[in-house]
């Protein structure tokens, strides 16, 4: 009996110590806004600085750094400077998991920002959720990310599946006689590319546009010639290509040119939005008429966006056309988190999550941001852009401010 009592006291003491330690830990992680604490706010992120997504990862890094630079120039957040802790995940979904675990449990960052691509955002969001961190991201807009229904995930970008909506709506608006009769839908097996192509195909088939080719090919194919030749052999009026990068769309364009096939309409889900890298790969003449959906472009007529573009050019050189949407998406992540922190006057991740789920409309360089229950930005604006005589111009929605006339049929290859 005596030994039991001693054991009970020992356990009570142990529990008290553990509770105390937990409280101290909780206070140090979630209440870092103590006014006495003037150490920098550390924001952790994992980016694909090497690997398949390195071009996008590097652009994201610049976007985050540009935002941090701007915030610090204004005095920081809650009176504290912002410091970014960026780890390289080498475009690996496994490494991204390790990186966020490291950022949260070892480096004890105050906040986390998302990585690039849905493939990496999905596992990363799970890690952040496990530790109660808000996970605001700018490049994880596919169903792969939202299917888990994690309460901590917020994507500032346009939901992937809605990206081609302006294109679909434009097709709907055309008289039947002006719509293309046939269409091909080759797509990379990727959570970014295939959902939007599948939605487009289903809708356009209901409009009577006949599908002559619809195949999904592996994401990492070094040689696209056989697939592109098959599309060309069907001679569709329109090609909707589910691409994730410049080489995919460039390879299809080269193959079409070699097959003397020029579709009247050619839209790719990614690639033509990469500015100079795209034009360099395909040639200025061949770029003419190519279309791509996106939620932002360097000429976006919004004061904060134009300011960001100018700052980017000043800091990194080049021209406005070199600023791709990745930069704006990353910058927007910072803006959204900053507004939540400022509103809450706290770095508490749980308060950030609650605030972002409150239905509030926030502002970003990409336009308004409001999250639904899944964390999708329901106010994101969708556009379609087209290369016209060396200029990357907004063409859809046709009634949107700044939209120019769409060039159809696509000019012949001349690169």
């Amino acid at each position: 009996m005596r030994s039991l009592s001693h054991r009970a006291r020992f356990m009570a003491l142990g529990a008290t110590v553990a509770l105390g330690a937990a409280l101290v830990a909780a206070c140090s992680s979630s209440n870092g806004s103590s006014s006495a604490n003037k150490s920098p706010i550390v924001i952790g992120t994992s980016l694909s600085l090497t690997g398949d997504f390195s071009a996008d990862g590097q652009a994201f890094k610049r976007g985050y750094e540009l935002w941090a630079s701007d915030v610090n120039a204004k005095g920081g957040l809650l009176g504290r400077k912002v410091k970014l802790e960026i780890l390289n995940d080498n475009s690996s979904p496994t490494q991204v998991d390790t990186n966020y675990t490291d950022l949260i449990t070892v480096k004890h960052v105050d906040l986390t920002f998302g990585p690039f691509s849905s493939l990496l955002t999905a596992p990363a969001a799970q890690v952040a959720h496990r530790y109660g961190y808000a996970f605001v991201e700018g490049a994880g807009g596919s169903g792969l990310v939202f299917s888990e229904k994690l309460p901590n995930v917020f994507d500032v970008a346009l939901p992937v599946v809605n990206s081609l909506d302006p294109f679909i709506n434009w097709m709907k608006s055309l008289p039947a006689s002006q719509r293309p009769a046939t269409a091909a839908y080759p797509s990379a097996d990727d959570p970014f590319a295939s959902p939007q192509v599948a939605k487009t195909q289903a809708t356009l088939e209901s409009l009577g546009i006949k599908t002559v080719y619809s195949k999904v090919f592996p994401e990492e194919v070094p040689d696209y010639l056989p697939n592109a030749n098959l599309v060309a052999s069907k001679k569709p009026d329109m090609v909707v290509l589910g691409s994730t990068d410049v080489p995919t769309v460039s390879s299809f364009m080269h193959a079409f040119q070699q097959q003397h096939f020029n579709p009247k309409i050619f839209i790719a889900t990614a690639g033509p939005d990469q500015g100079g890298a795209f034009v360099s790969a395909v040639g200025a003449g061949n770029a003419n008429g190519m279309m791509v959906p996106n939620a932002w472009f360097p000429g976006f007529q919004k004061a904060s966006s134009m300011k960001m573009v100018n700052e980017y050019v000043q800091k990194y050189g080049g021209s406005a056309s070199d600023v791709n949407a990745d930069v704006a998406e990353a910058y927007s992540v910072g803006e959204v988190v900053a507004q939540a922190v400022d509103h809450n006057k706290s770095l508490s991740n749980s308060k950030i999550i609650s605030y972002l789920h409150s239905g509030v409309t926030l502002d970003s360089v990409e336009g308004p941001v409001m999250f639904n229950a899944l964390g999708e930005n329901v106010k994101a604006i969708a556009f379609v852009f087209q290369w016209q005589n060396g200029q990357y111009v907004q063409v859809l929605p046709t009634n949107a401010q700044g939209s120019k006339s769409i060039v159809v049929p696509k000019p012949n290859w001349s690169g």
Partner: protein, 293 residues
């Protein structure tokens, strides 16, 4: 449908030539040195970047540029051998060379990232987007040239191996290094030159890869290495001609499967490879046969 199959076979055969160019150096180096050169993918990319520099900055045609990039890659290969491979000795040599090659790949990738960044670049010339009408098909000129180069390069390697004194030394080294030393062959010199030749051939494969890929970055080599290894394993490691045959088989099988189900195209090739290796574990041409030729 018959037309599509014929076109897929044509595309597969031509694409096979490009892969053979990239795999020839890998199989040559393995045949002589017993080294599985996992840096072969980055060598291909390095060759592509060298062609890019000559093309964009010095306006030298991609094929003319090979007169510079091939010797340059030969020297790079010899330097890499002397710095990283030659010092490795002992029972763990094979596994250590694997790690050394991986380290070489990471170093080259890092240098390329530093010099060229992560944006895609591509090789362009009039023949990269043009085609000729042959046998009822439009055949891409760059693929035809690439296939021709593959046949010529493999033919030259074959002549070097079987019609020159150096080739006899190489084959003797392939068969038995100790015996080769006993008959006065400088095995280290042969090994270094073979590594150089294997790397030099990759300059050609790199140029053609850069011209057909639609864009490449320093990271592009990783997508290649598994396919190149599969080709040389199927061919029989060390078989130069076998690399061409296996590459053509791989790309043709994939192109034909693409007609029905592209997502299965890669899997079908690897499935075929497993079945063939079950019957012939030494590969189609077989390592022993290669060395005894």
């Amino acid at each position: 449908m018959a037309n599509q199959i014929a076109q897929a076979i044509a595309a597969g055969i031509l694409g096979g030539g490009v892969y053979a160019l990239m795999a020839a150096g890998l199989t040559l180096i393995f045949g002589v040195l017993d080294i599985i050169n996992v840096a072969q993918g980055i060598f291909v990319v390095l060759g592509a970047y060298l062609s890019y520099v000559l093309s964009v900055h010095l306006h030298i045609d991609l094929f003319v540029g090979l007169l510079i990039t091939v010797p340059a890659m030969f020297i790079i290969g010899i330097v890499i051998y002397w710095l990283f491979i030659r010092p490795l000795r002992g029972a763990e040599r094979t596994s250590m060379t694997l790690l050394a090659c991986f380290a070489v790949a990471l170093i080259i990738e890092g240098i390329l990232y530093r010099e060229f960044g992560s944006n895609y670049v591509s090789l362009k010339a009039w023949y990269t987007t043009s085609s000729v009408h042959l046998f009822g098909f439009y055949l891409p000129v760059i693929y035809l040239l690439g296939f021709g180069l593959a046949v010529v390069a493999i033919g030259l390697i074959y002549l070097m191996l079987y019609r020159t004194k150096f080739g006899r030394a190489v084959r003797a080294t392939m068969q038995n290094q100790t015996a080769a030393r006993l008959v006065g062959i400088d095995v280290n010199r042969v090994a270094a030159l073979t590594f150089g030749v294997g790397t030099a051939v990759t300059a050609i494969g790199g140029m053609v890869f850069g011209a057909i890929s639609g864009g490449f970055t320093p990271n592009s080599g990783y997508d290649l290495i598994s396919r190149l290894l599969a080709i040389v394993i199927l061919a029989g490691m060390g078989s130069i001609g076998g690399a061409l045959a296996a590459a053509v088989f791989m790309t043709t099988a994939e192109a034909v499967v693409d007609i029905w189900q592209p997502t299965w195209s890669v899997a079908v090739f690897y499935l075929a490879m497993v079945i063939i290796l079950t019957v012939r574990p030494q590969g189609i041409f077989g390592r022993a046969g290669v060395r005894a030729q």
